[in-house]
Symmetry: D2
Subunit: 102 residues, 4 copies
């Protein structure tokens, strides 16, 4: 089952600077061979359900290994069976209808 996911992980108990943990997750997702797109409040991921969830699980393991006692993650999961659609398709179909930025 192909999924488009939005993933954002918050390590708890390691202070306020979180970028090194998020950066480590980016590396884990890339090494898993997933198509990813970093944005200001998470990362879009495209791929097979099991591969994506295993990669997110590995992010939790790695961030715990970096010393984070707790983690709170939000995952939005989109699946569809009516047609194939990539992240880029979704963005373009909105941009075409929204018109140029002001």
């Amino acid at each position: 089952m192909n999924v488009i996911v939005d993933f954002s992980l918050v390590p708890i108990g390691v202070g306020t600077s979180l970028s090194k943990y998020v950066a480590k997750c980016e590396q884990v997702l890339r090494e898993a061979g997933l198509r990813i797109n970093l944005h200001g409040y998470g990362t879009n991921i495209e791929g097979e359900w099991d591969e994506v969830m295993q990669a997110i699980k590995k992010c939790h393991t790695v961030v715990h290994d970096m010393g984070a006692p707790r983690i709170s993650t939000i995952v939005k999961i989109g699946t569809r069976i009516d047609r194939k659609q990539t992240i880029q398709d979704k963005i373009l179909s909105v941009e075409k209808k929204a018109g140029p930025s002001l």
Copy 2:
């Protein structure tokens, strides 16, 4: 890895009445032997990471089989390695500190 999860699934393309799809997911989660707690905007789930994610994946499969062309799901995933904590522990620790309802 033990997880406490909050799961809410929105089937898209099947009209406005969603309770029969959510009810079906409750049955899938129960059949998976997971400890669950239904609330007004989702279901808390406790269990092993892989078992919980496989059950959520099965919810997507079943709801697609019920005729939903698209699904958008939100999952909050909490893990911790400093100590064991159940959903009930989390609720009681807040209720103790919040004091009695007005």
Copy 3:
């Protein structure tokens, strides 16, 4: 505009024990006169859009005043114009269809 919301707040930079901050938010929401329902990964809230959002904003202000340098909050917001529905209505309509727990 009436809303049913699910709200979960994570203070960042204040260690791993978060219950006193969540408890404080429960008090803020009660003082705002909102109908709330605490669960294992957040709080359901019912009320008017502006009242609910102002109360959530006050939670951020209060938790920052308690010493949290950063906060990451997730809010699920449900609105409908086809009919009135409470949190209890939503739970009962699912429980009726899901049948008794195993």
Copy 4:
């Protein structure tokens, strides 16, 4: 109170093609003068708390006016009082640490 928000809106009861509703929300957010960044599963927004929440409320009003009986929206809300940080700052600080794409 300045916020960085991630906003994704799902209209319910209007079929499976949602891009025209999401596009309409982009226009509402732009007209509110907010800095926004569309991605594959939502839109990052930067601005003052009240302005951002009023714009999201207007998105609900407009999408209901377009014929959607129900809406389910997810909002991630980030606030911090230790220093100023933009969406671009957050992305760059992760990219610097994550290293170049494979």
